[in-house]
Amino acid sequence: MKVTYYPGCSLHGMGKEYDQSMKAVSRALNIELKEVDDWSCCGASAAHNTNFDLSVALPARNLIAAEKDAMDVMVPCAACFNRFKMAEHHLKADKDLKARIEGVLGAKYQGGIAIRNPIDVIYNEIGMDALAAKVVKPMTGLKPVSYYGCLLLRPPEVCQFENYENPFMLDKIMRTIGADVKNWSYKTDCCGGSLSVSKTPIVTNLCDKLMAAAKEAGANCVVTACPMCMANLEMRPSANMKMPVFYFTELISLALGLPGSQETFKTHLTDPQPLLNQLRLV
């Protein structure tokens, strides 16, 4: 399948491991990516915290650019995905707002393309059978908890993600590549990403709580699909609470034996290489 691809600022910065592995996995699974023309930032938390119209107009600029390609737009970053879905929701629900935002942008918003995250695309479009058929190195010994966080799921009527209190798609993807996924109750709890820099002590407490729960569940790593969660869970837990955190696409890339799949592990802030070495996965 072919989709329009919106990487967003994080995937070209701190979250470049997600961008690199996403592209490698897409190539391997025959998902052709066409980058959104001249995209700009979605506004993230900063826009919706301070100015409602700005928080709709910034993603709308990108949605309108993506509409020109007339394909689903795939948004790997959970924060961008959330802002895109939120803008779509408001633009479709409120005609006055739509007219106002179109006036700001000088362009029409059609609302005709679907906004998708890669967990959904890989699970529902590619399917677990096709994924399983491509696995050359099962992730034996890897015991992740899957961490969905907030932004892919909430609010549920906007994000339209499956089972928003107990989602399973990421768990099934991890099981398909041979990981021993651990069940836990913190799949959708917040890590505090939006206050990571400005209120760090609170965020350390939230991250420690998550890591303690992951350890209690018997996990040896955490898997995420959000660059905010990644940065936060790598940097903010207390030193004795840290454990490796992976983008789910990095592990798919490794399991599929894709070229360059070990490169992204080198730039993690919590080094996952000792764990992968110990399990003989690299």
Binding site: D38, A44, N49, L58, C150, L153
Partner: protein, 175 residues
């Protein structure tokens, strides 16, 4: 004259806050509640009581993480997350000092970065935030290793049609 409750309801543009029957599910699920001056459901009560000053100058509105757990679990679909956005924006529009000043300064640094290049450049944005907040030493221990690992790029990313992005900022400035 419009009451505080009417003003907030109008801006939320959804289920009115009167629908809240204070079951406290929002507060029970809120990951930041224990750090807040007033719990989320108490804020609703205070708005109903017209306590505008106390609400808009509280830490609560700045410590909300926007995780949207409250609206997800509210039995009456009261959009508390949106309410928090509305309250922050009212505080900004009225020129009130944010009780958690650094939270607002971070947002401002982030938005400046978008205005500057159309896309956020993490390093410039962080430097900008540090200068605004005076928090010069937070994360100085992490920064060198990030830089060495190539996680912080030197070259600011750019949207080519920068004018269209800056135009959005100009035209959405609150009147």
């Amino acid at each position: 004259m419009e009451t505080f409750l009417e003003e907030v309801n109008k801006k939320i543009h959804g289920v009115p806050l009167q629908a809240c029957y204070h079951c406290r599910k929002c507060t029970a699920g809120c990951p930041a509640a224990s750090y807040m001056e007033f719990n989320p459901n108490k804020v609703i009560k205070m708005i109903q009581n017209g306590q505008k000053d106390r609400v808009l100058s509280s830490s609560t509105i700045w410590l909300c993480l926007s995780c949207e757990t409250c609206i997800t679990r509210c039995p009456n679909q009261v959009d508390i997350a949106r309410m928090m956005d509305v309250l922050r924006q009212m505080a900004i529009e009225e020129g009130r000092a944010a009780k958690e000043a650094n939270v607002l300064k971070f947002h401002e640094a982030f938005l400046s970065s978008i205005k500057f290049g159309g896309r956020v450049h993490e390093m410039l944005m962080t430097v900008h935030y540090k200068l605004k907040s005076g928090d010069l030493f937070g994360d100085v221990d992490i920064a060198p290793s990030m830089f060495l690992k190539g996680k912080l790029s030197l070259l600011p990313p750019r949207t080519k049609d920068l004018k269209s992005v800056r135009n959005i900022f100009e035209k959405t400035q609150s009147k």
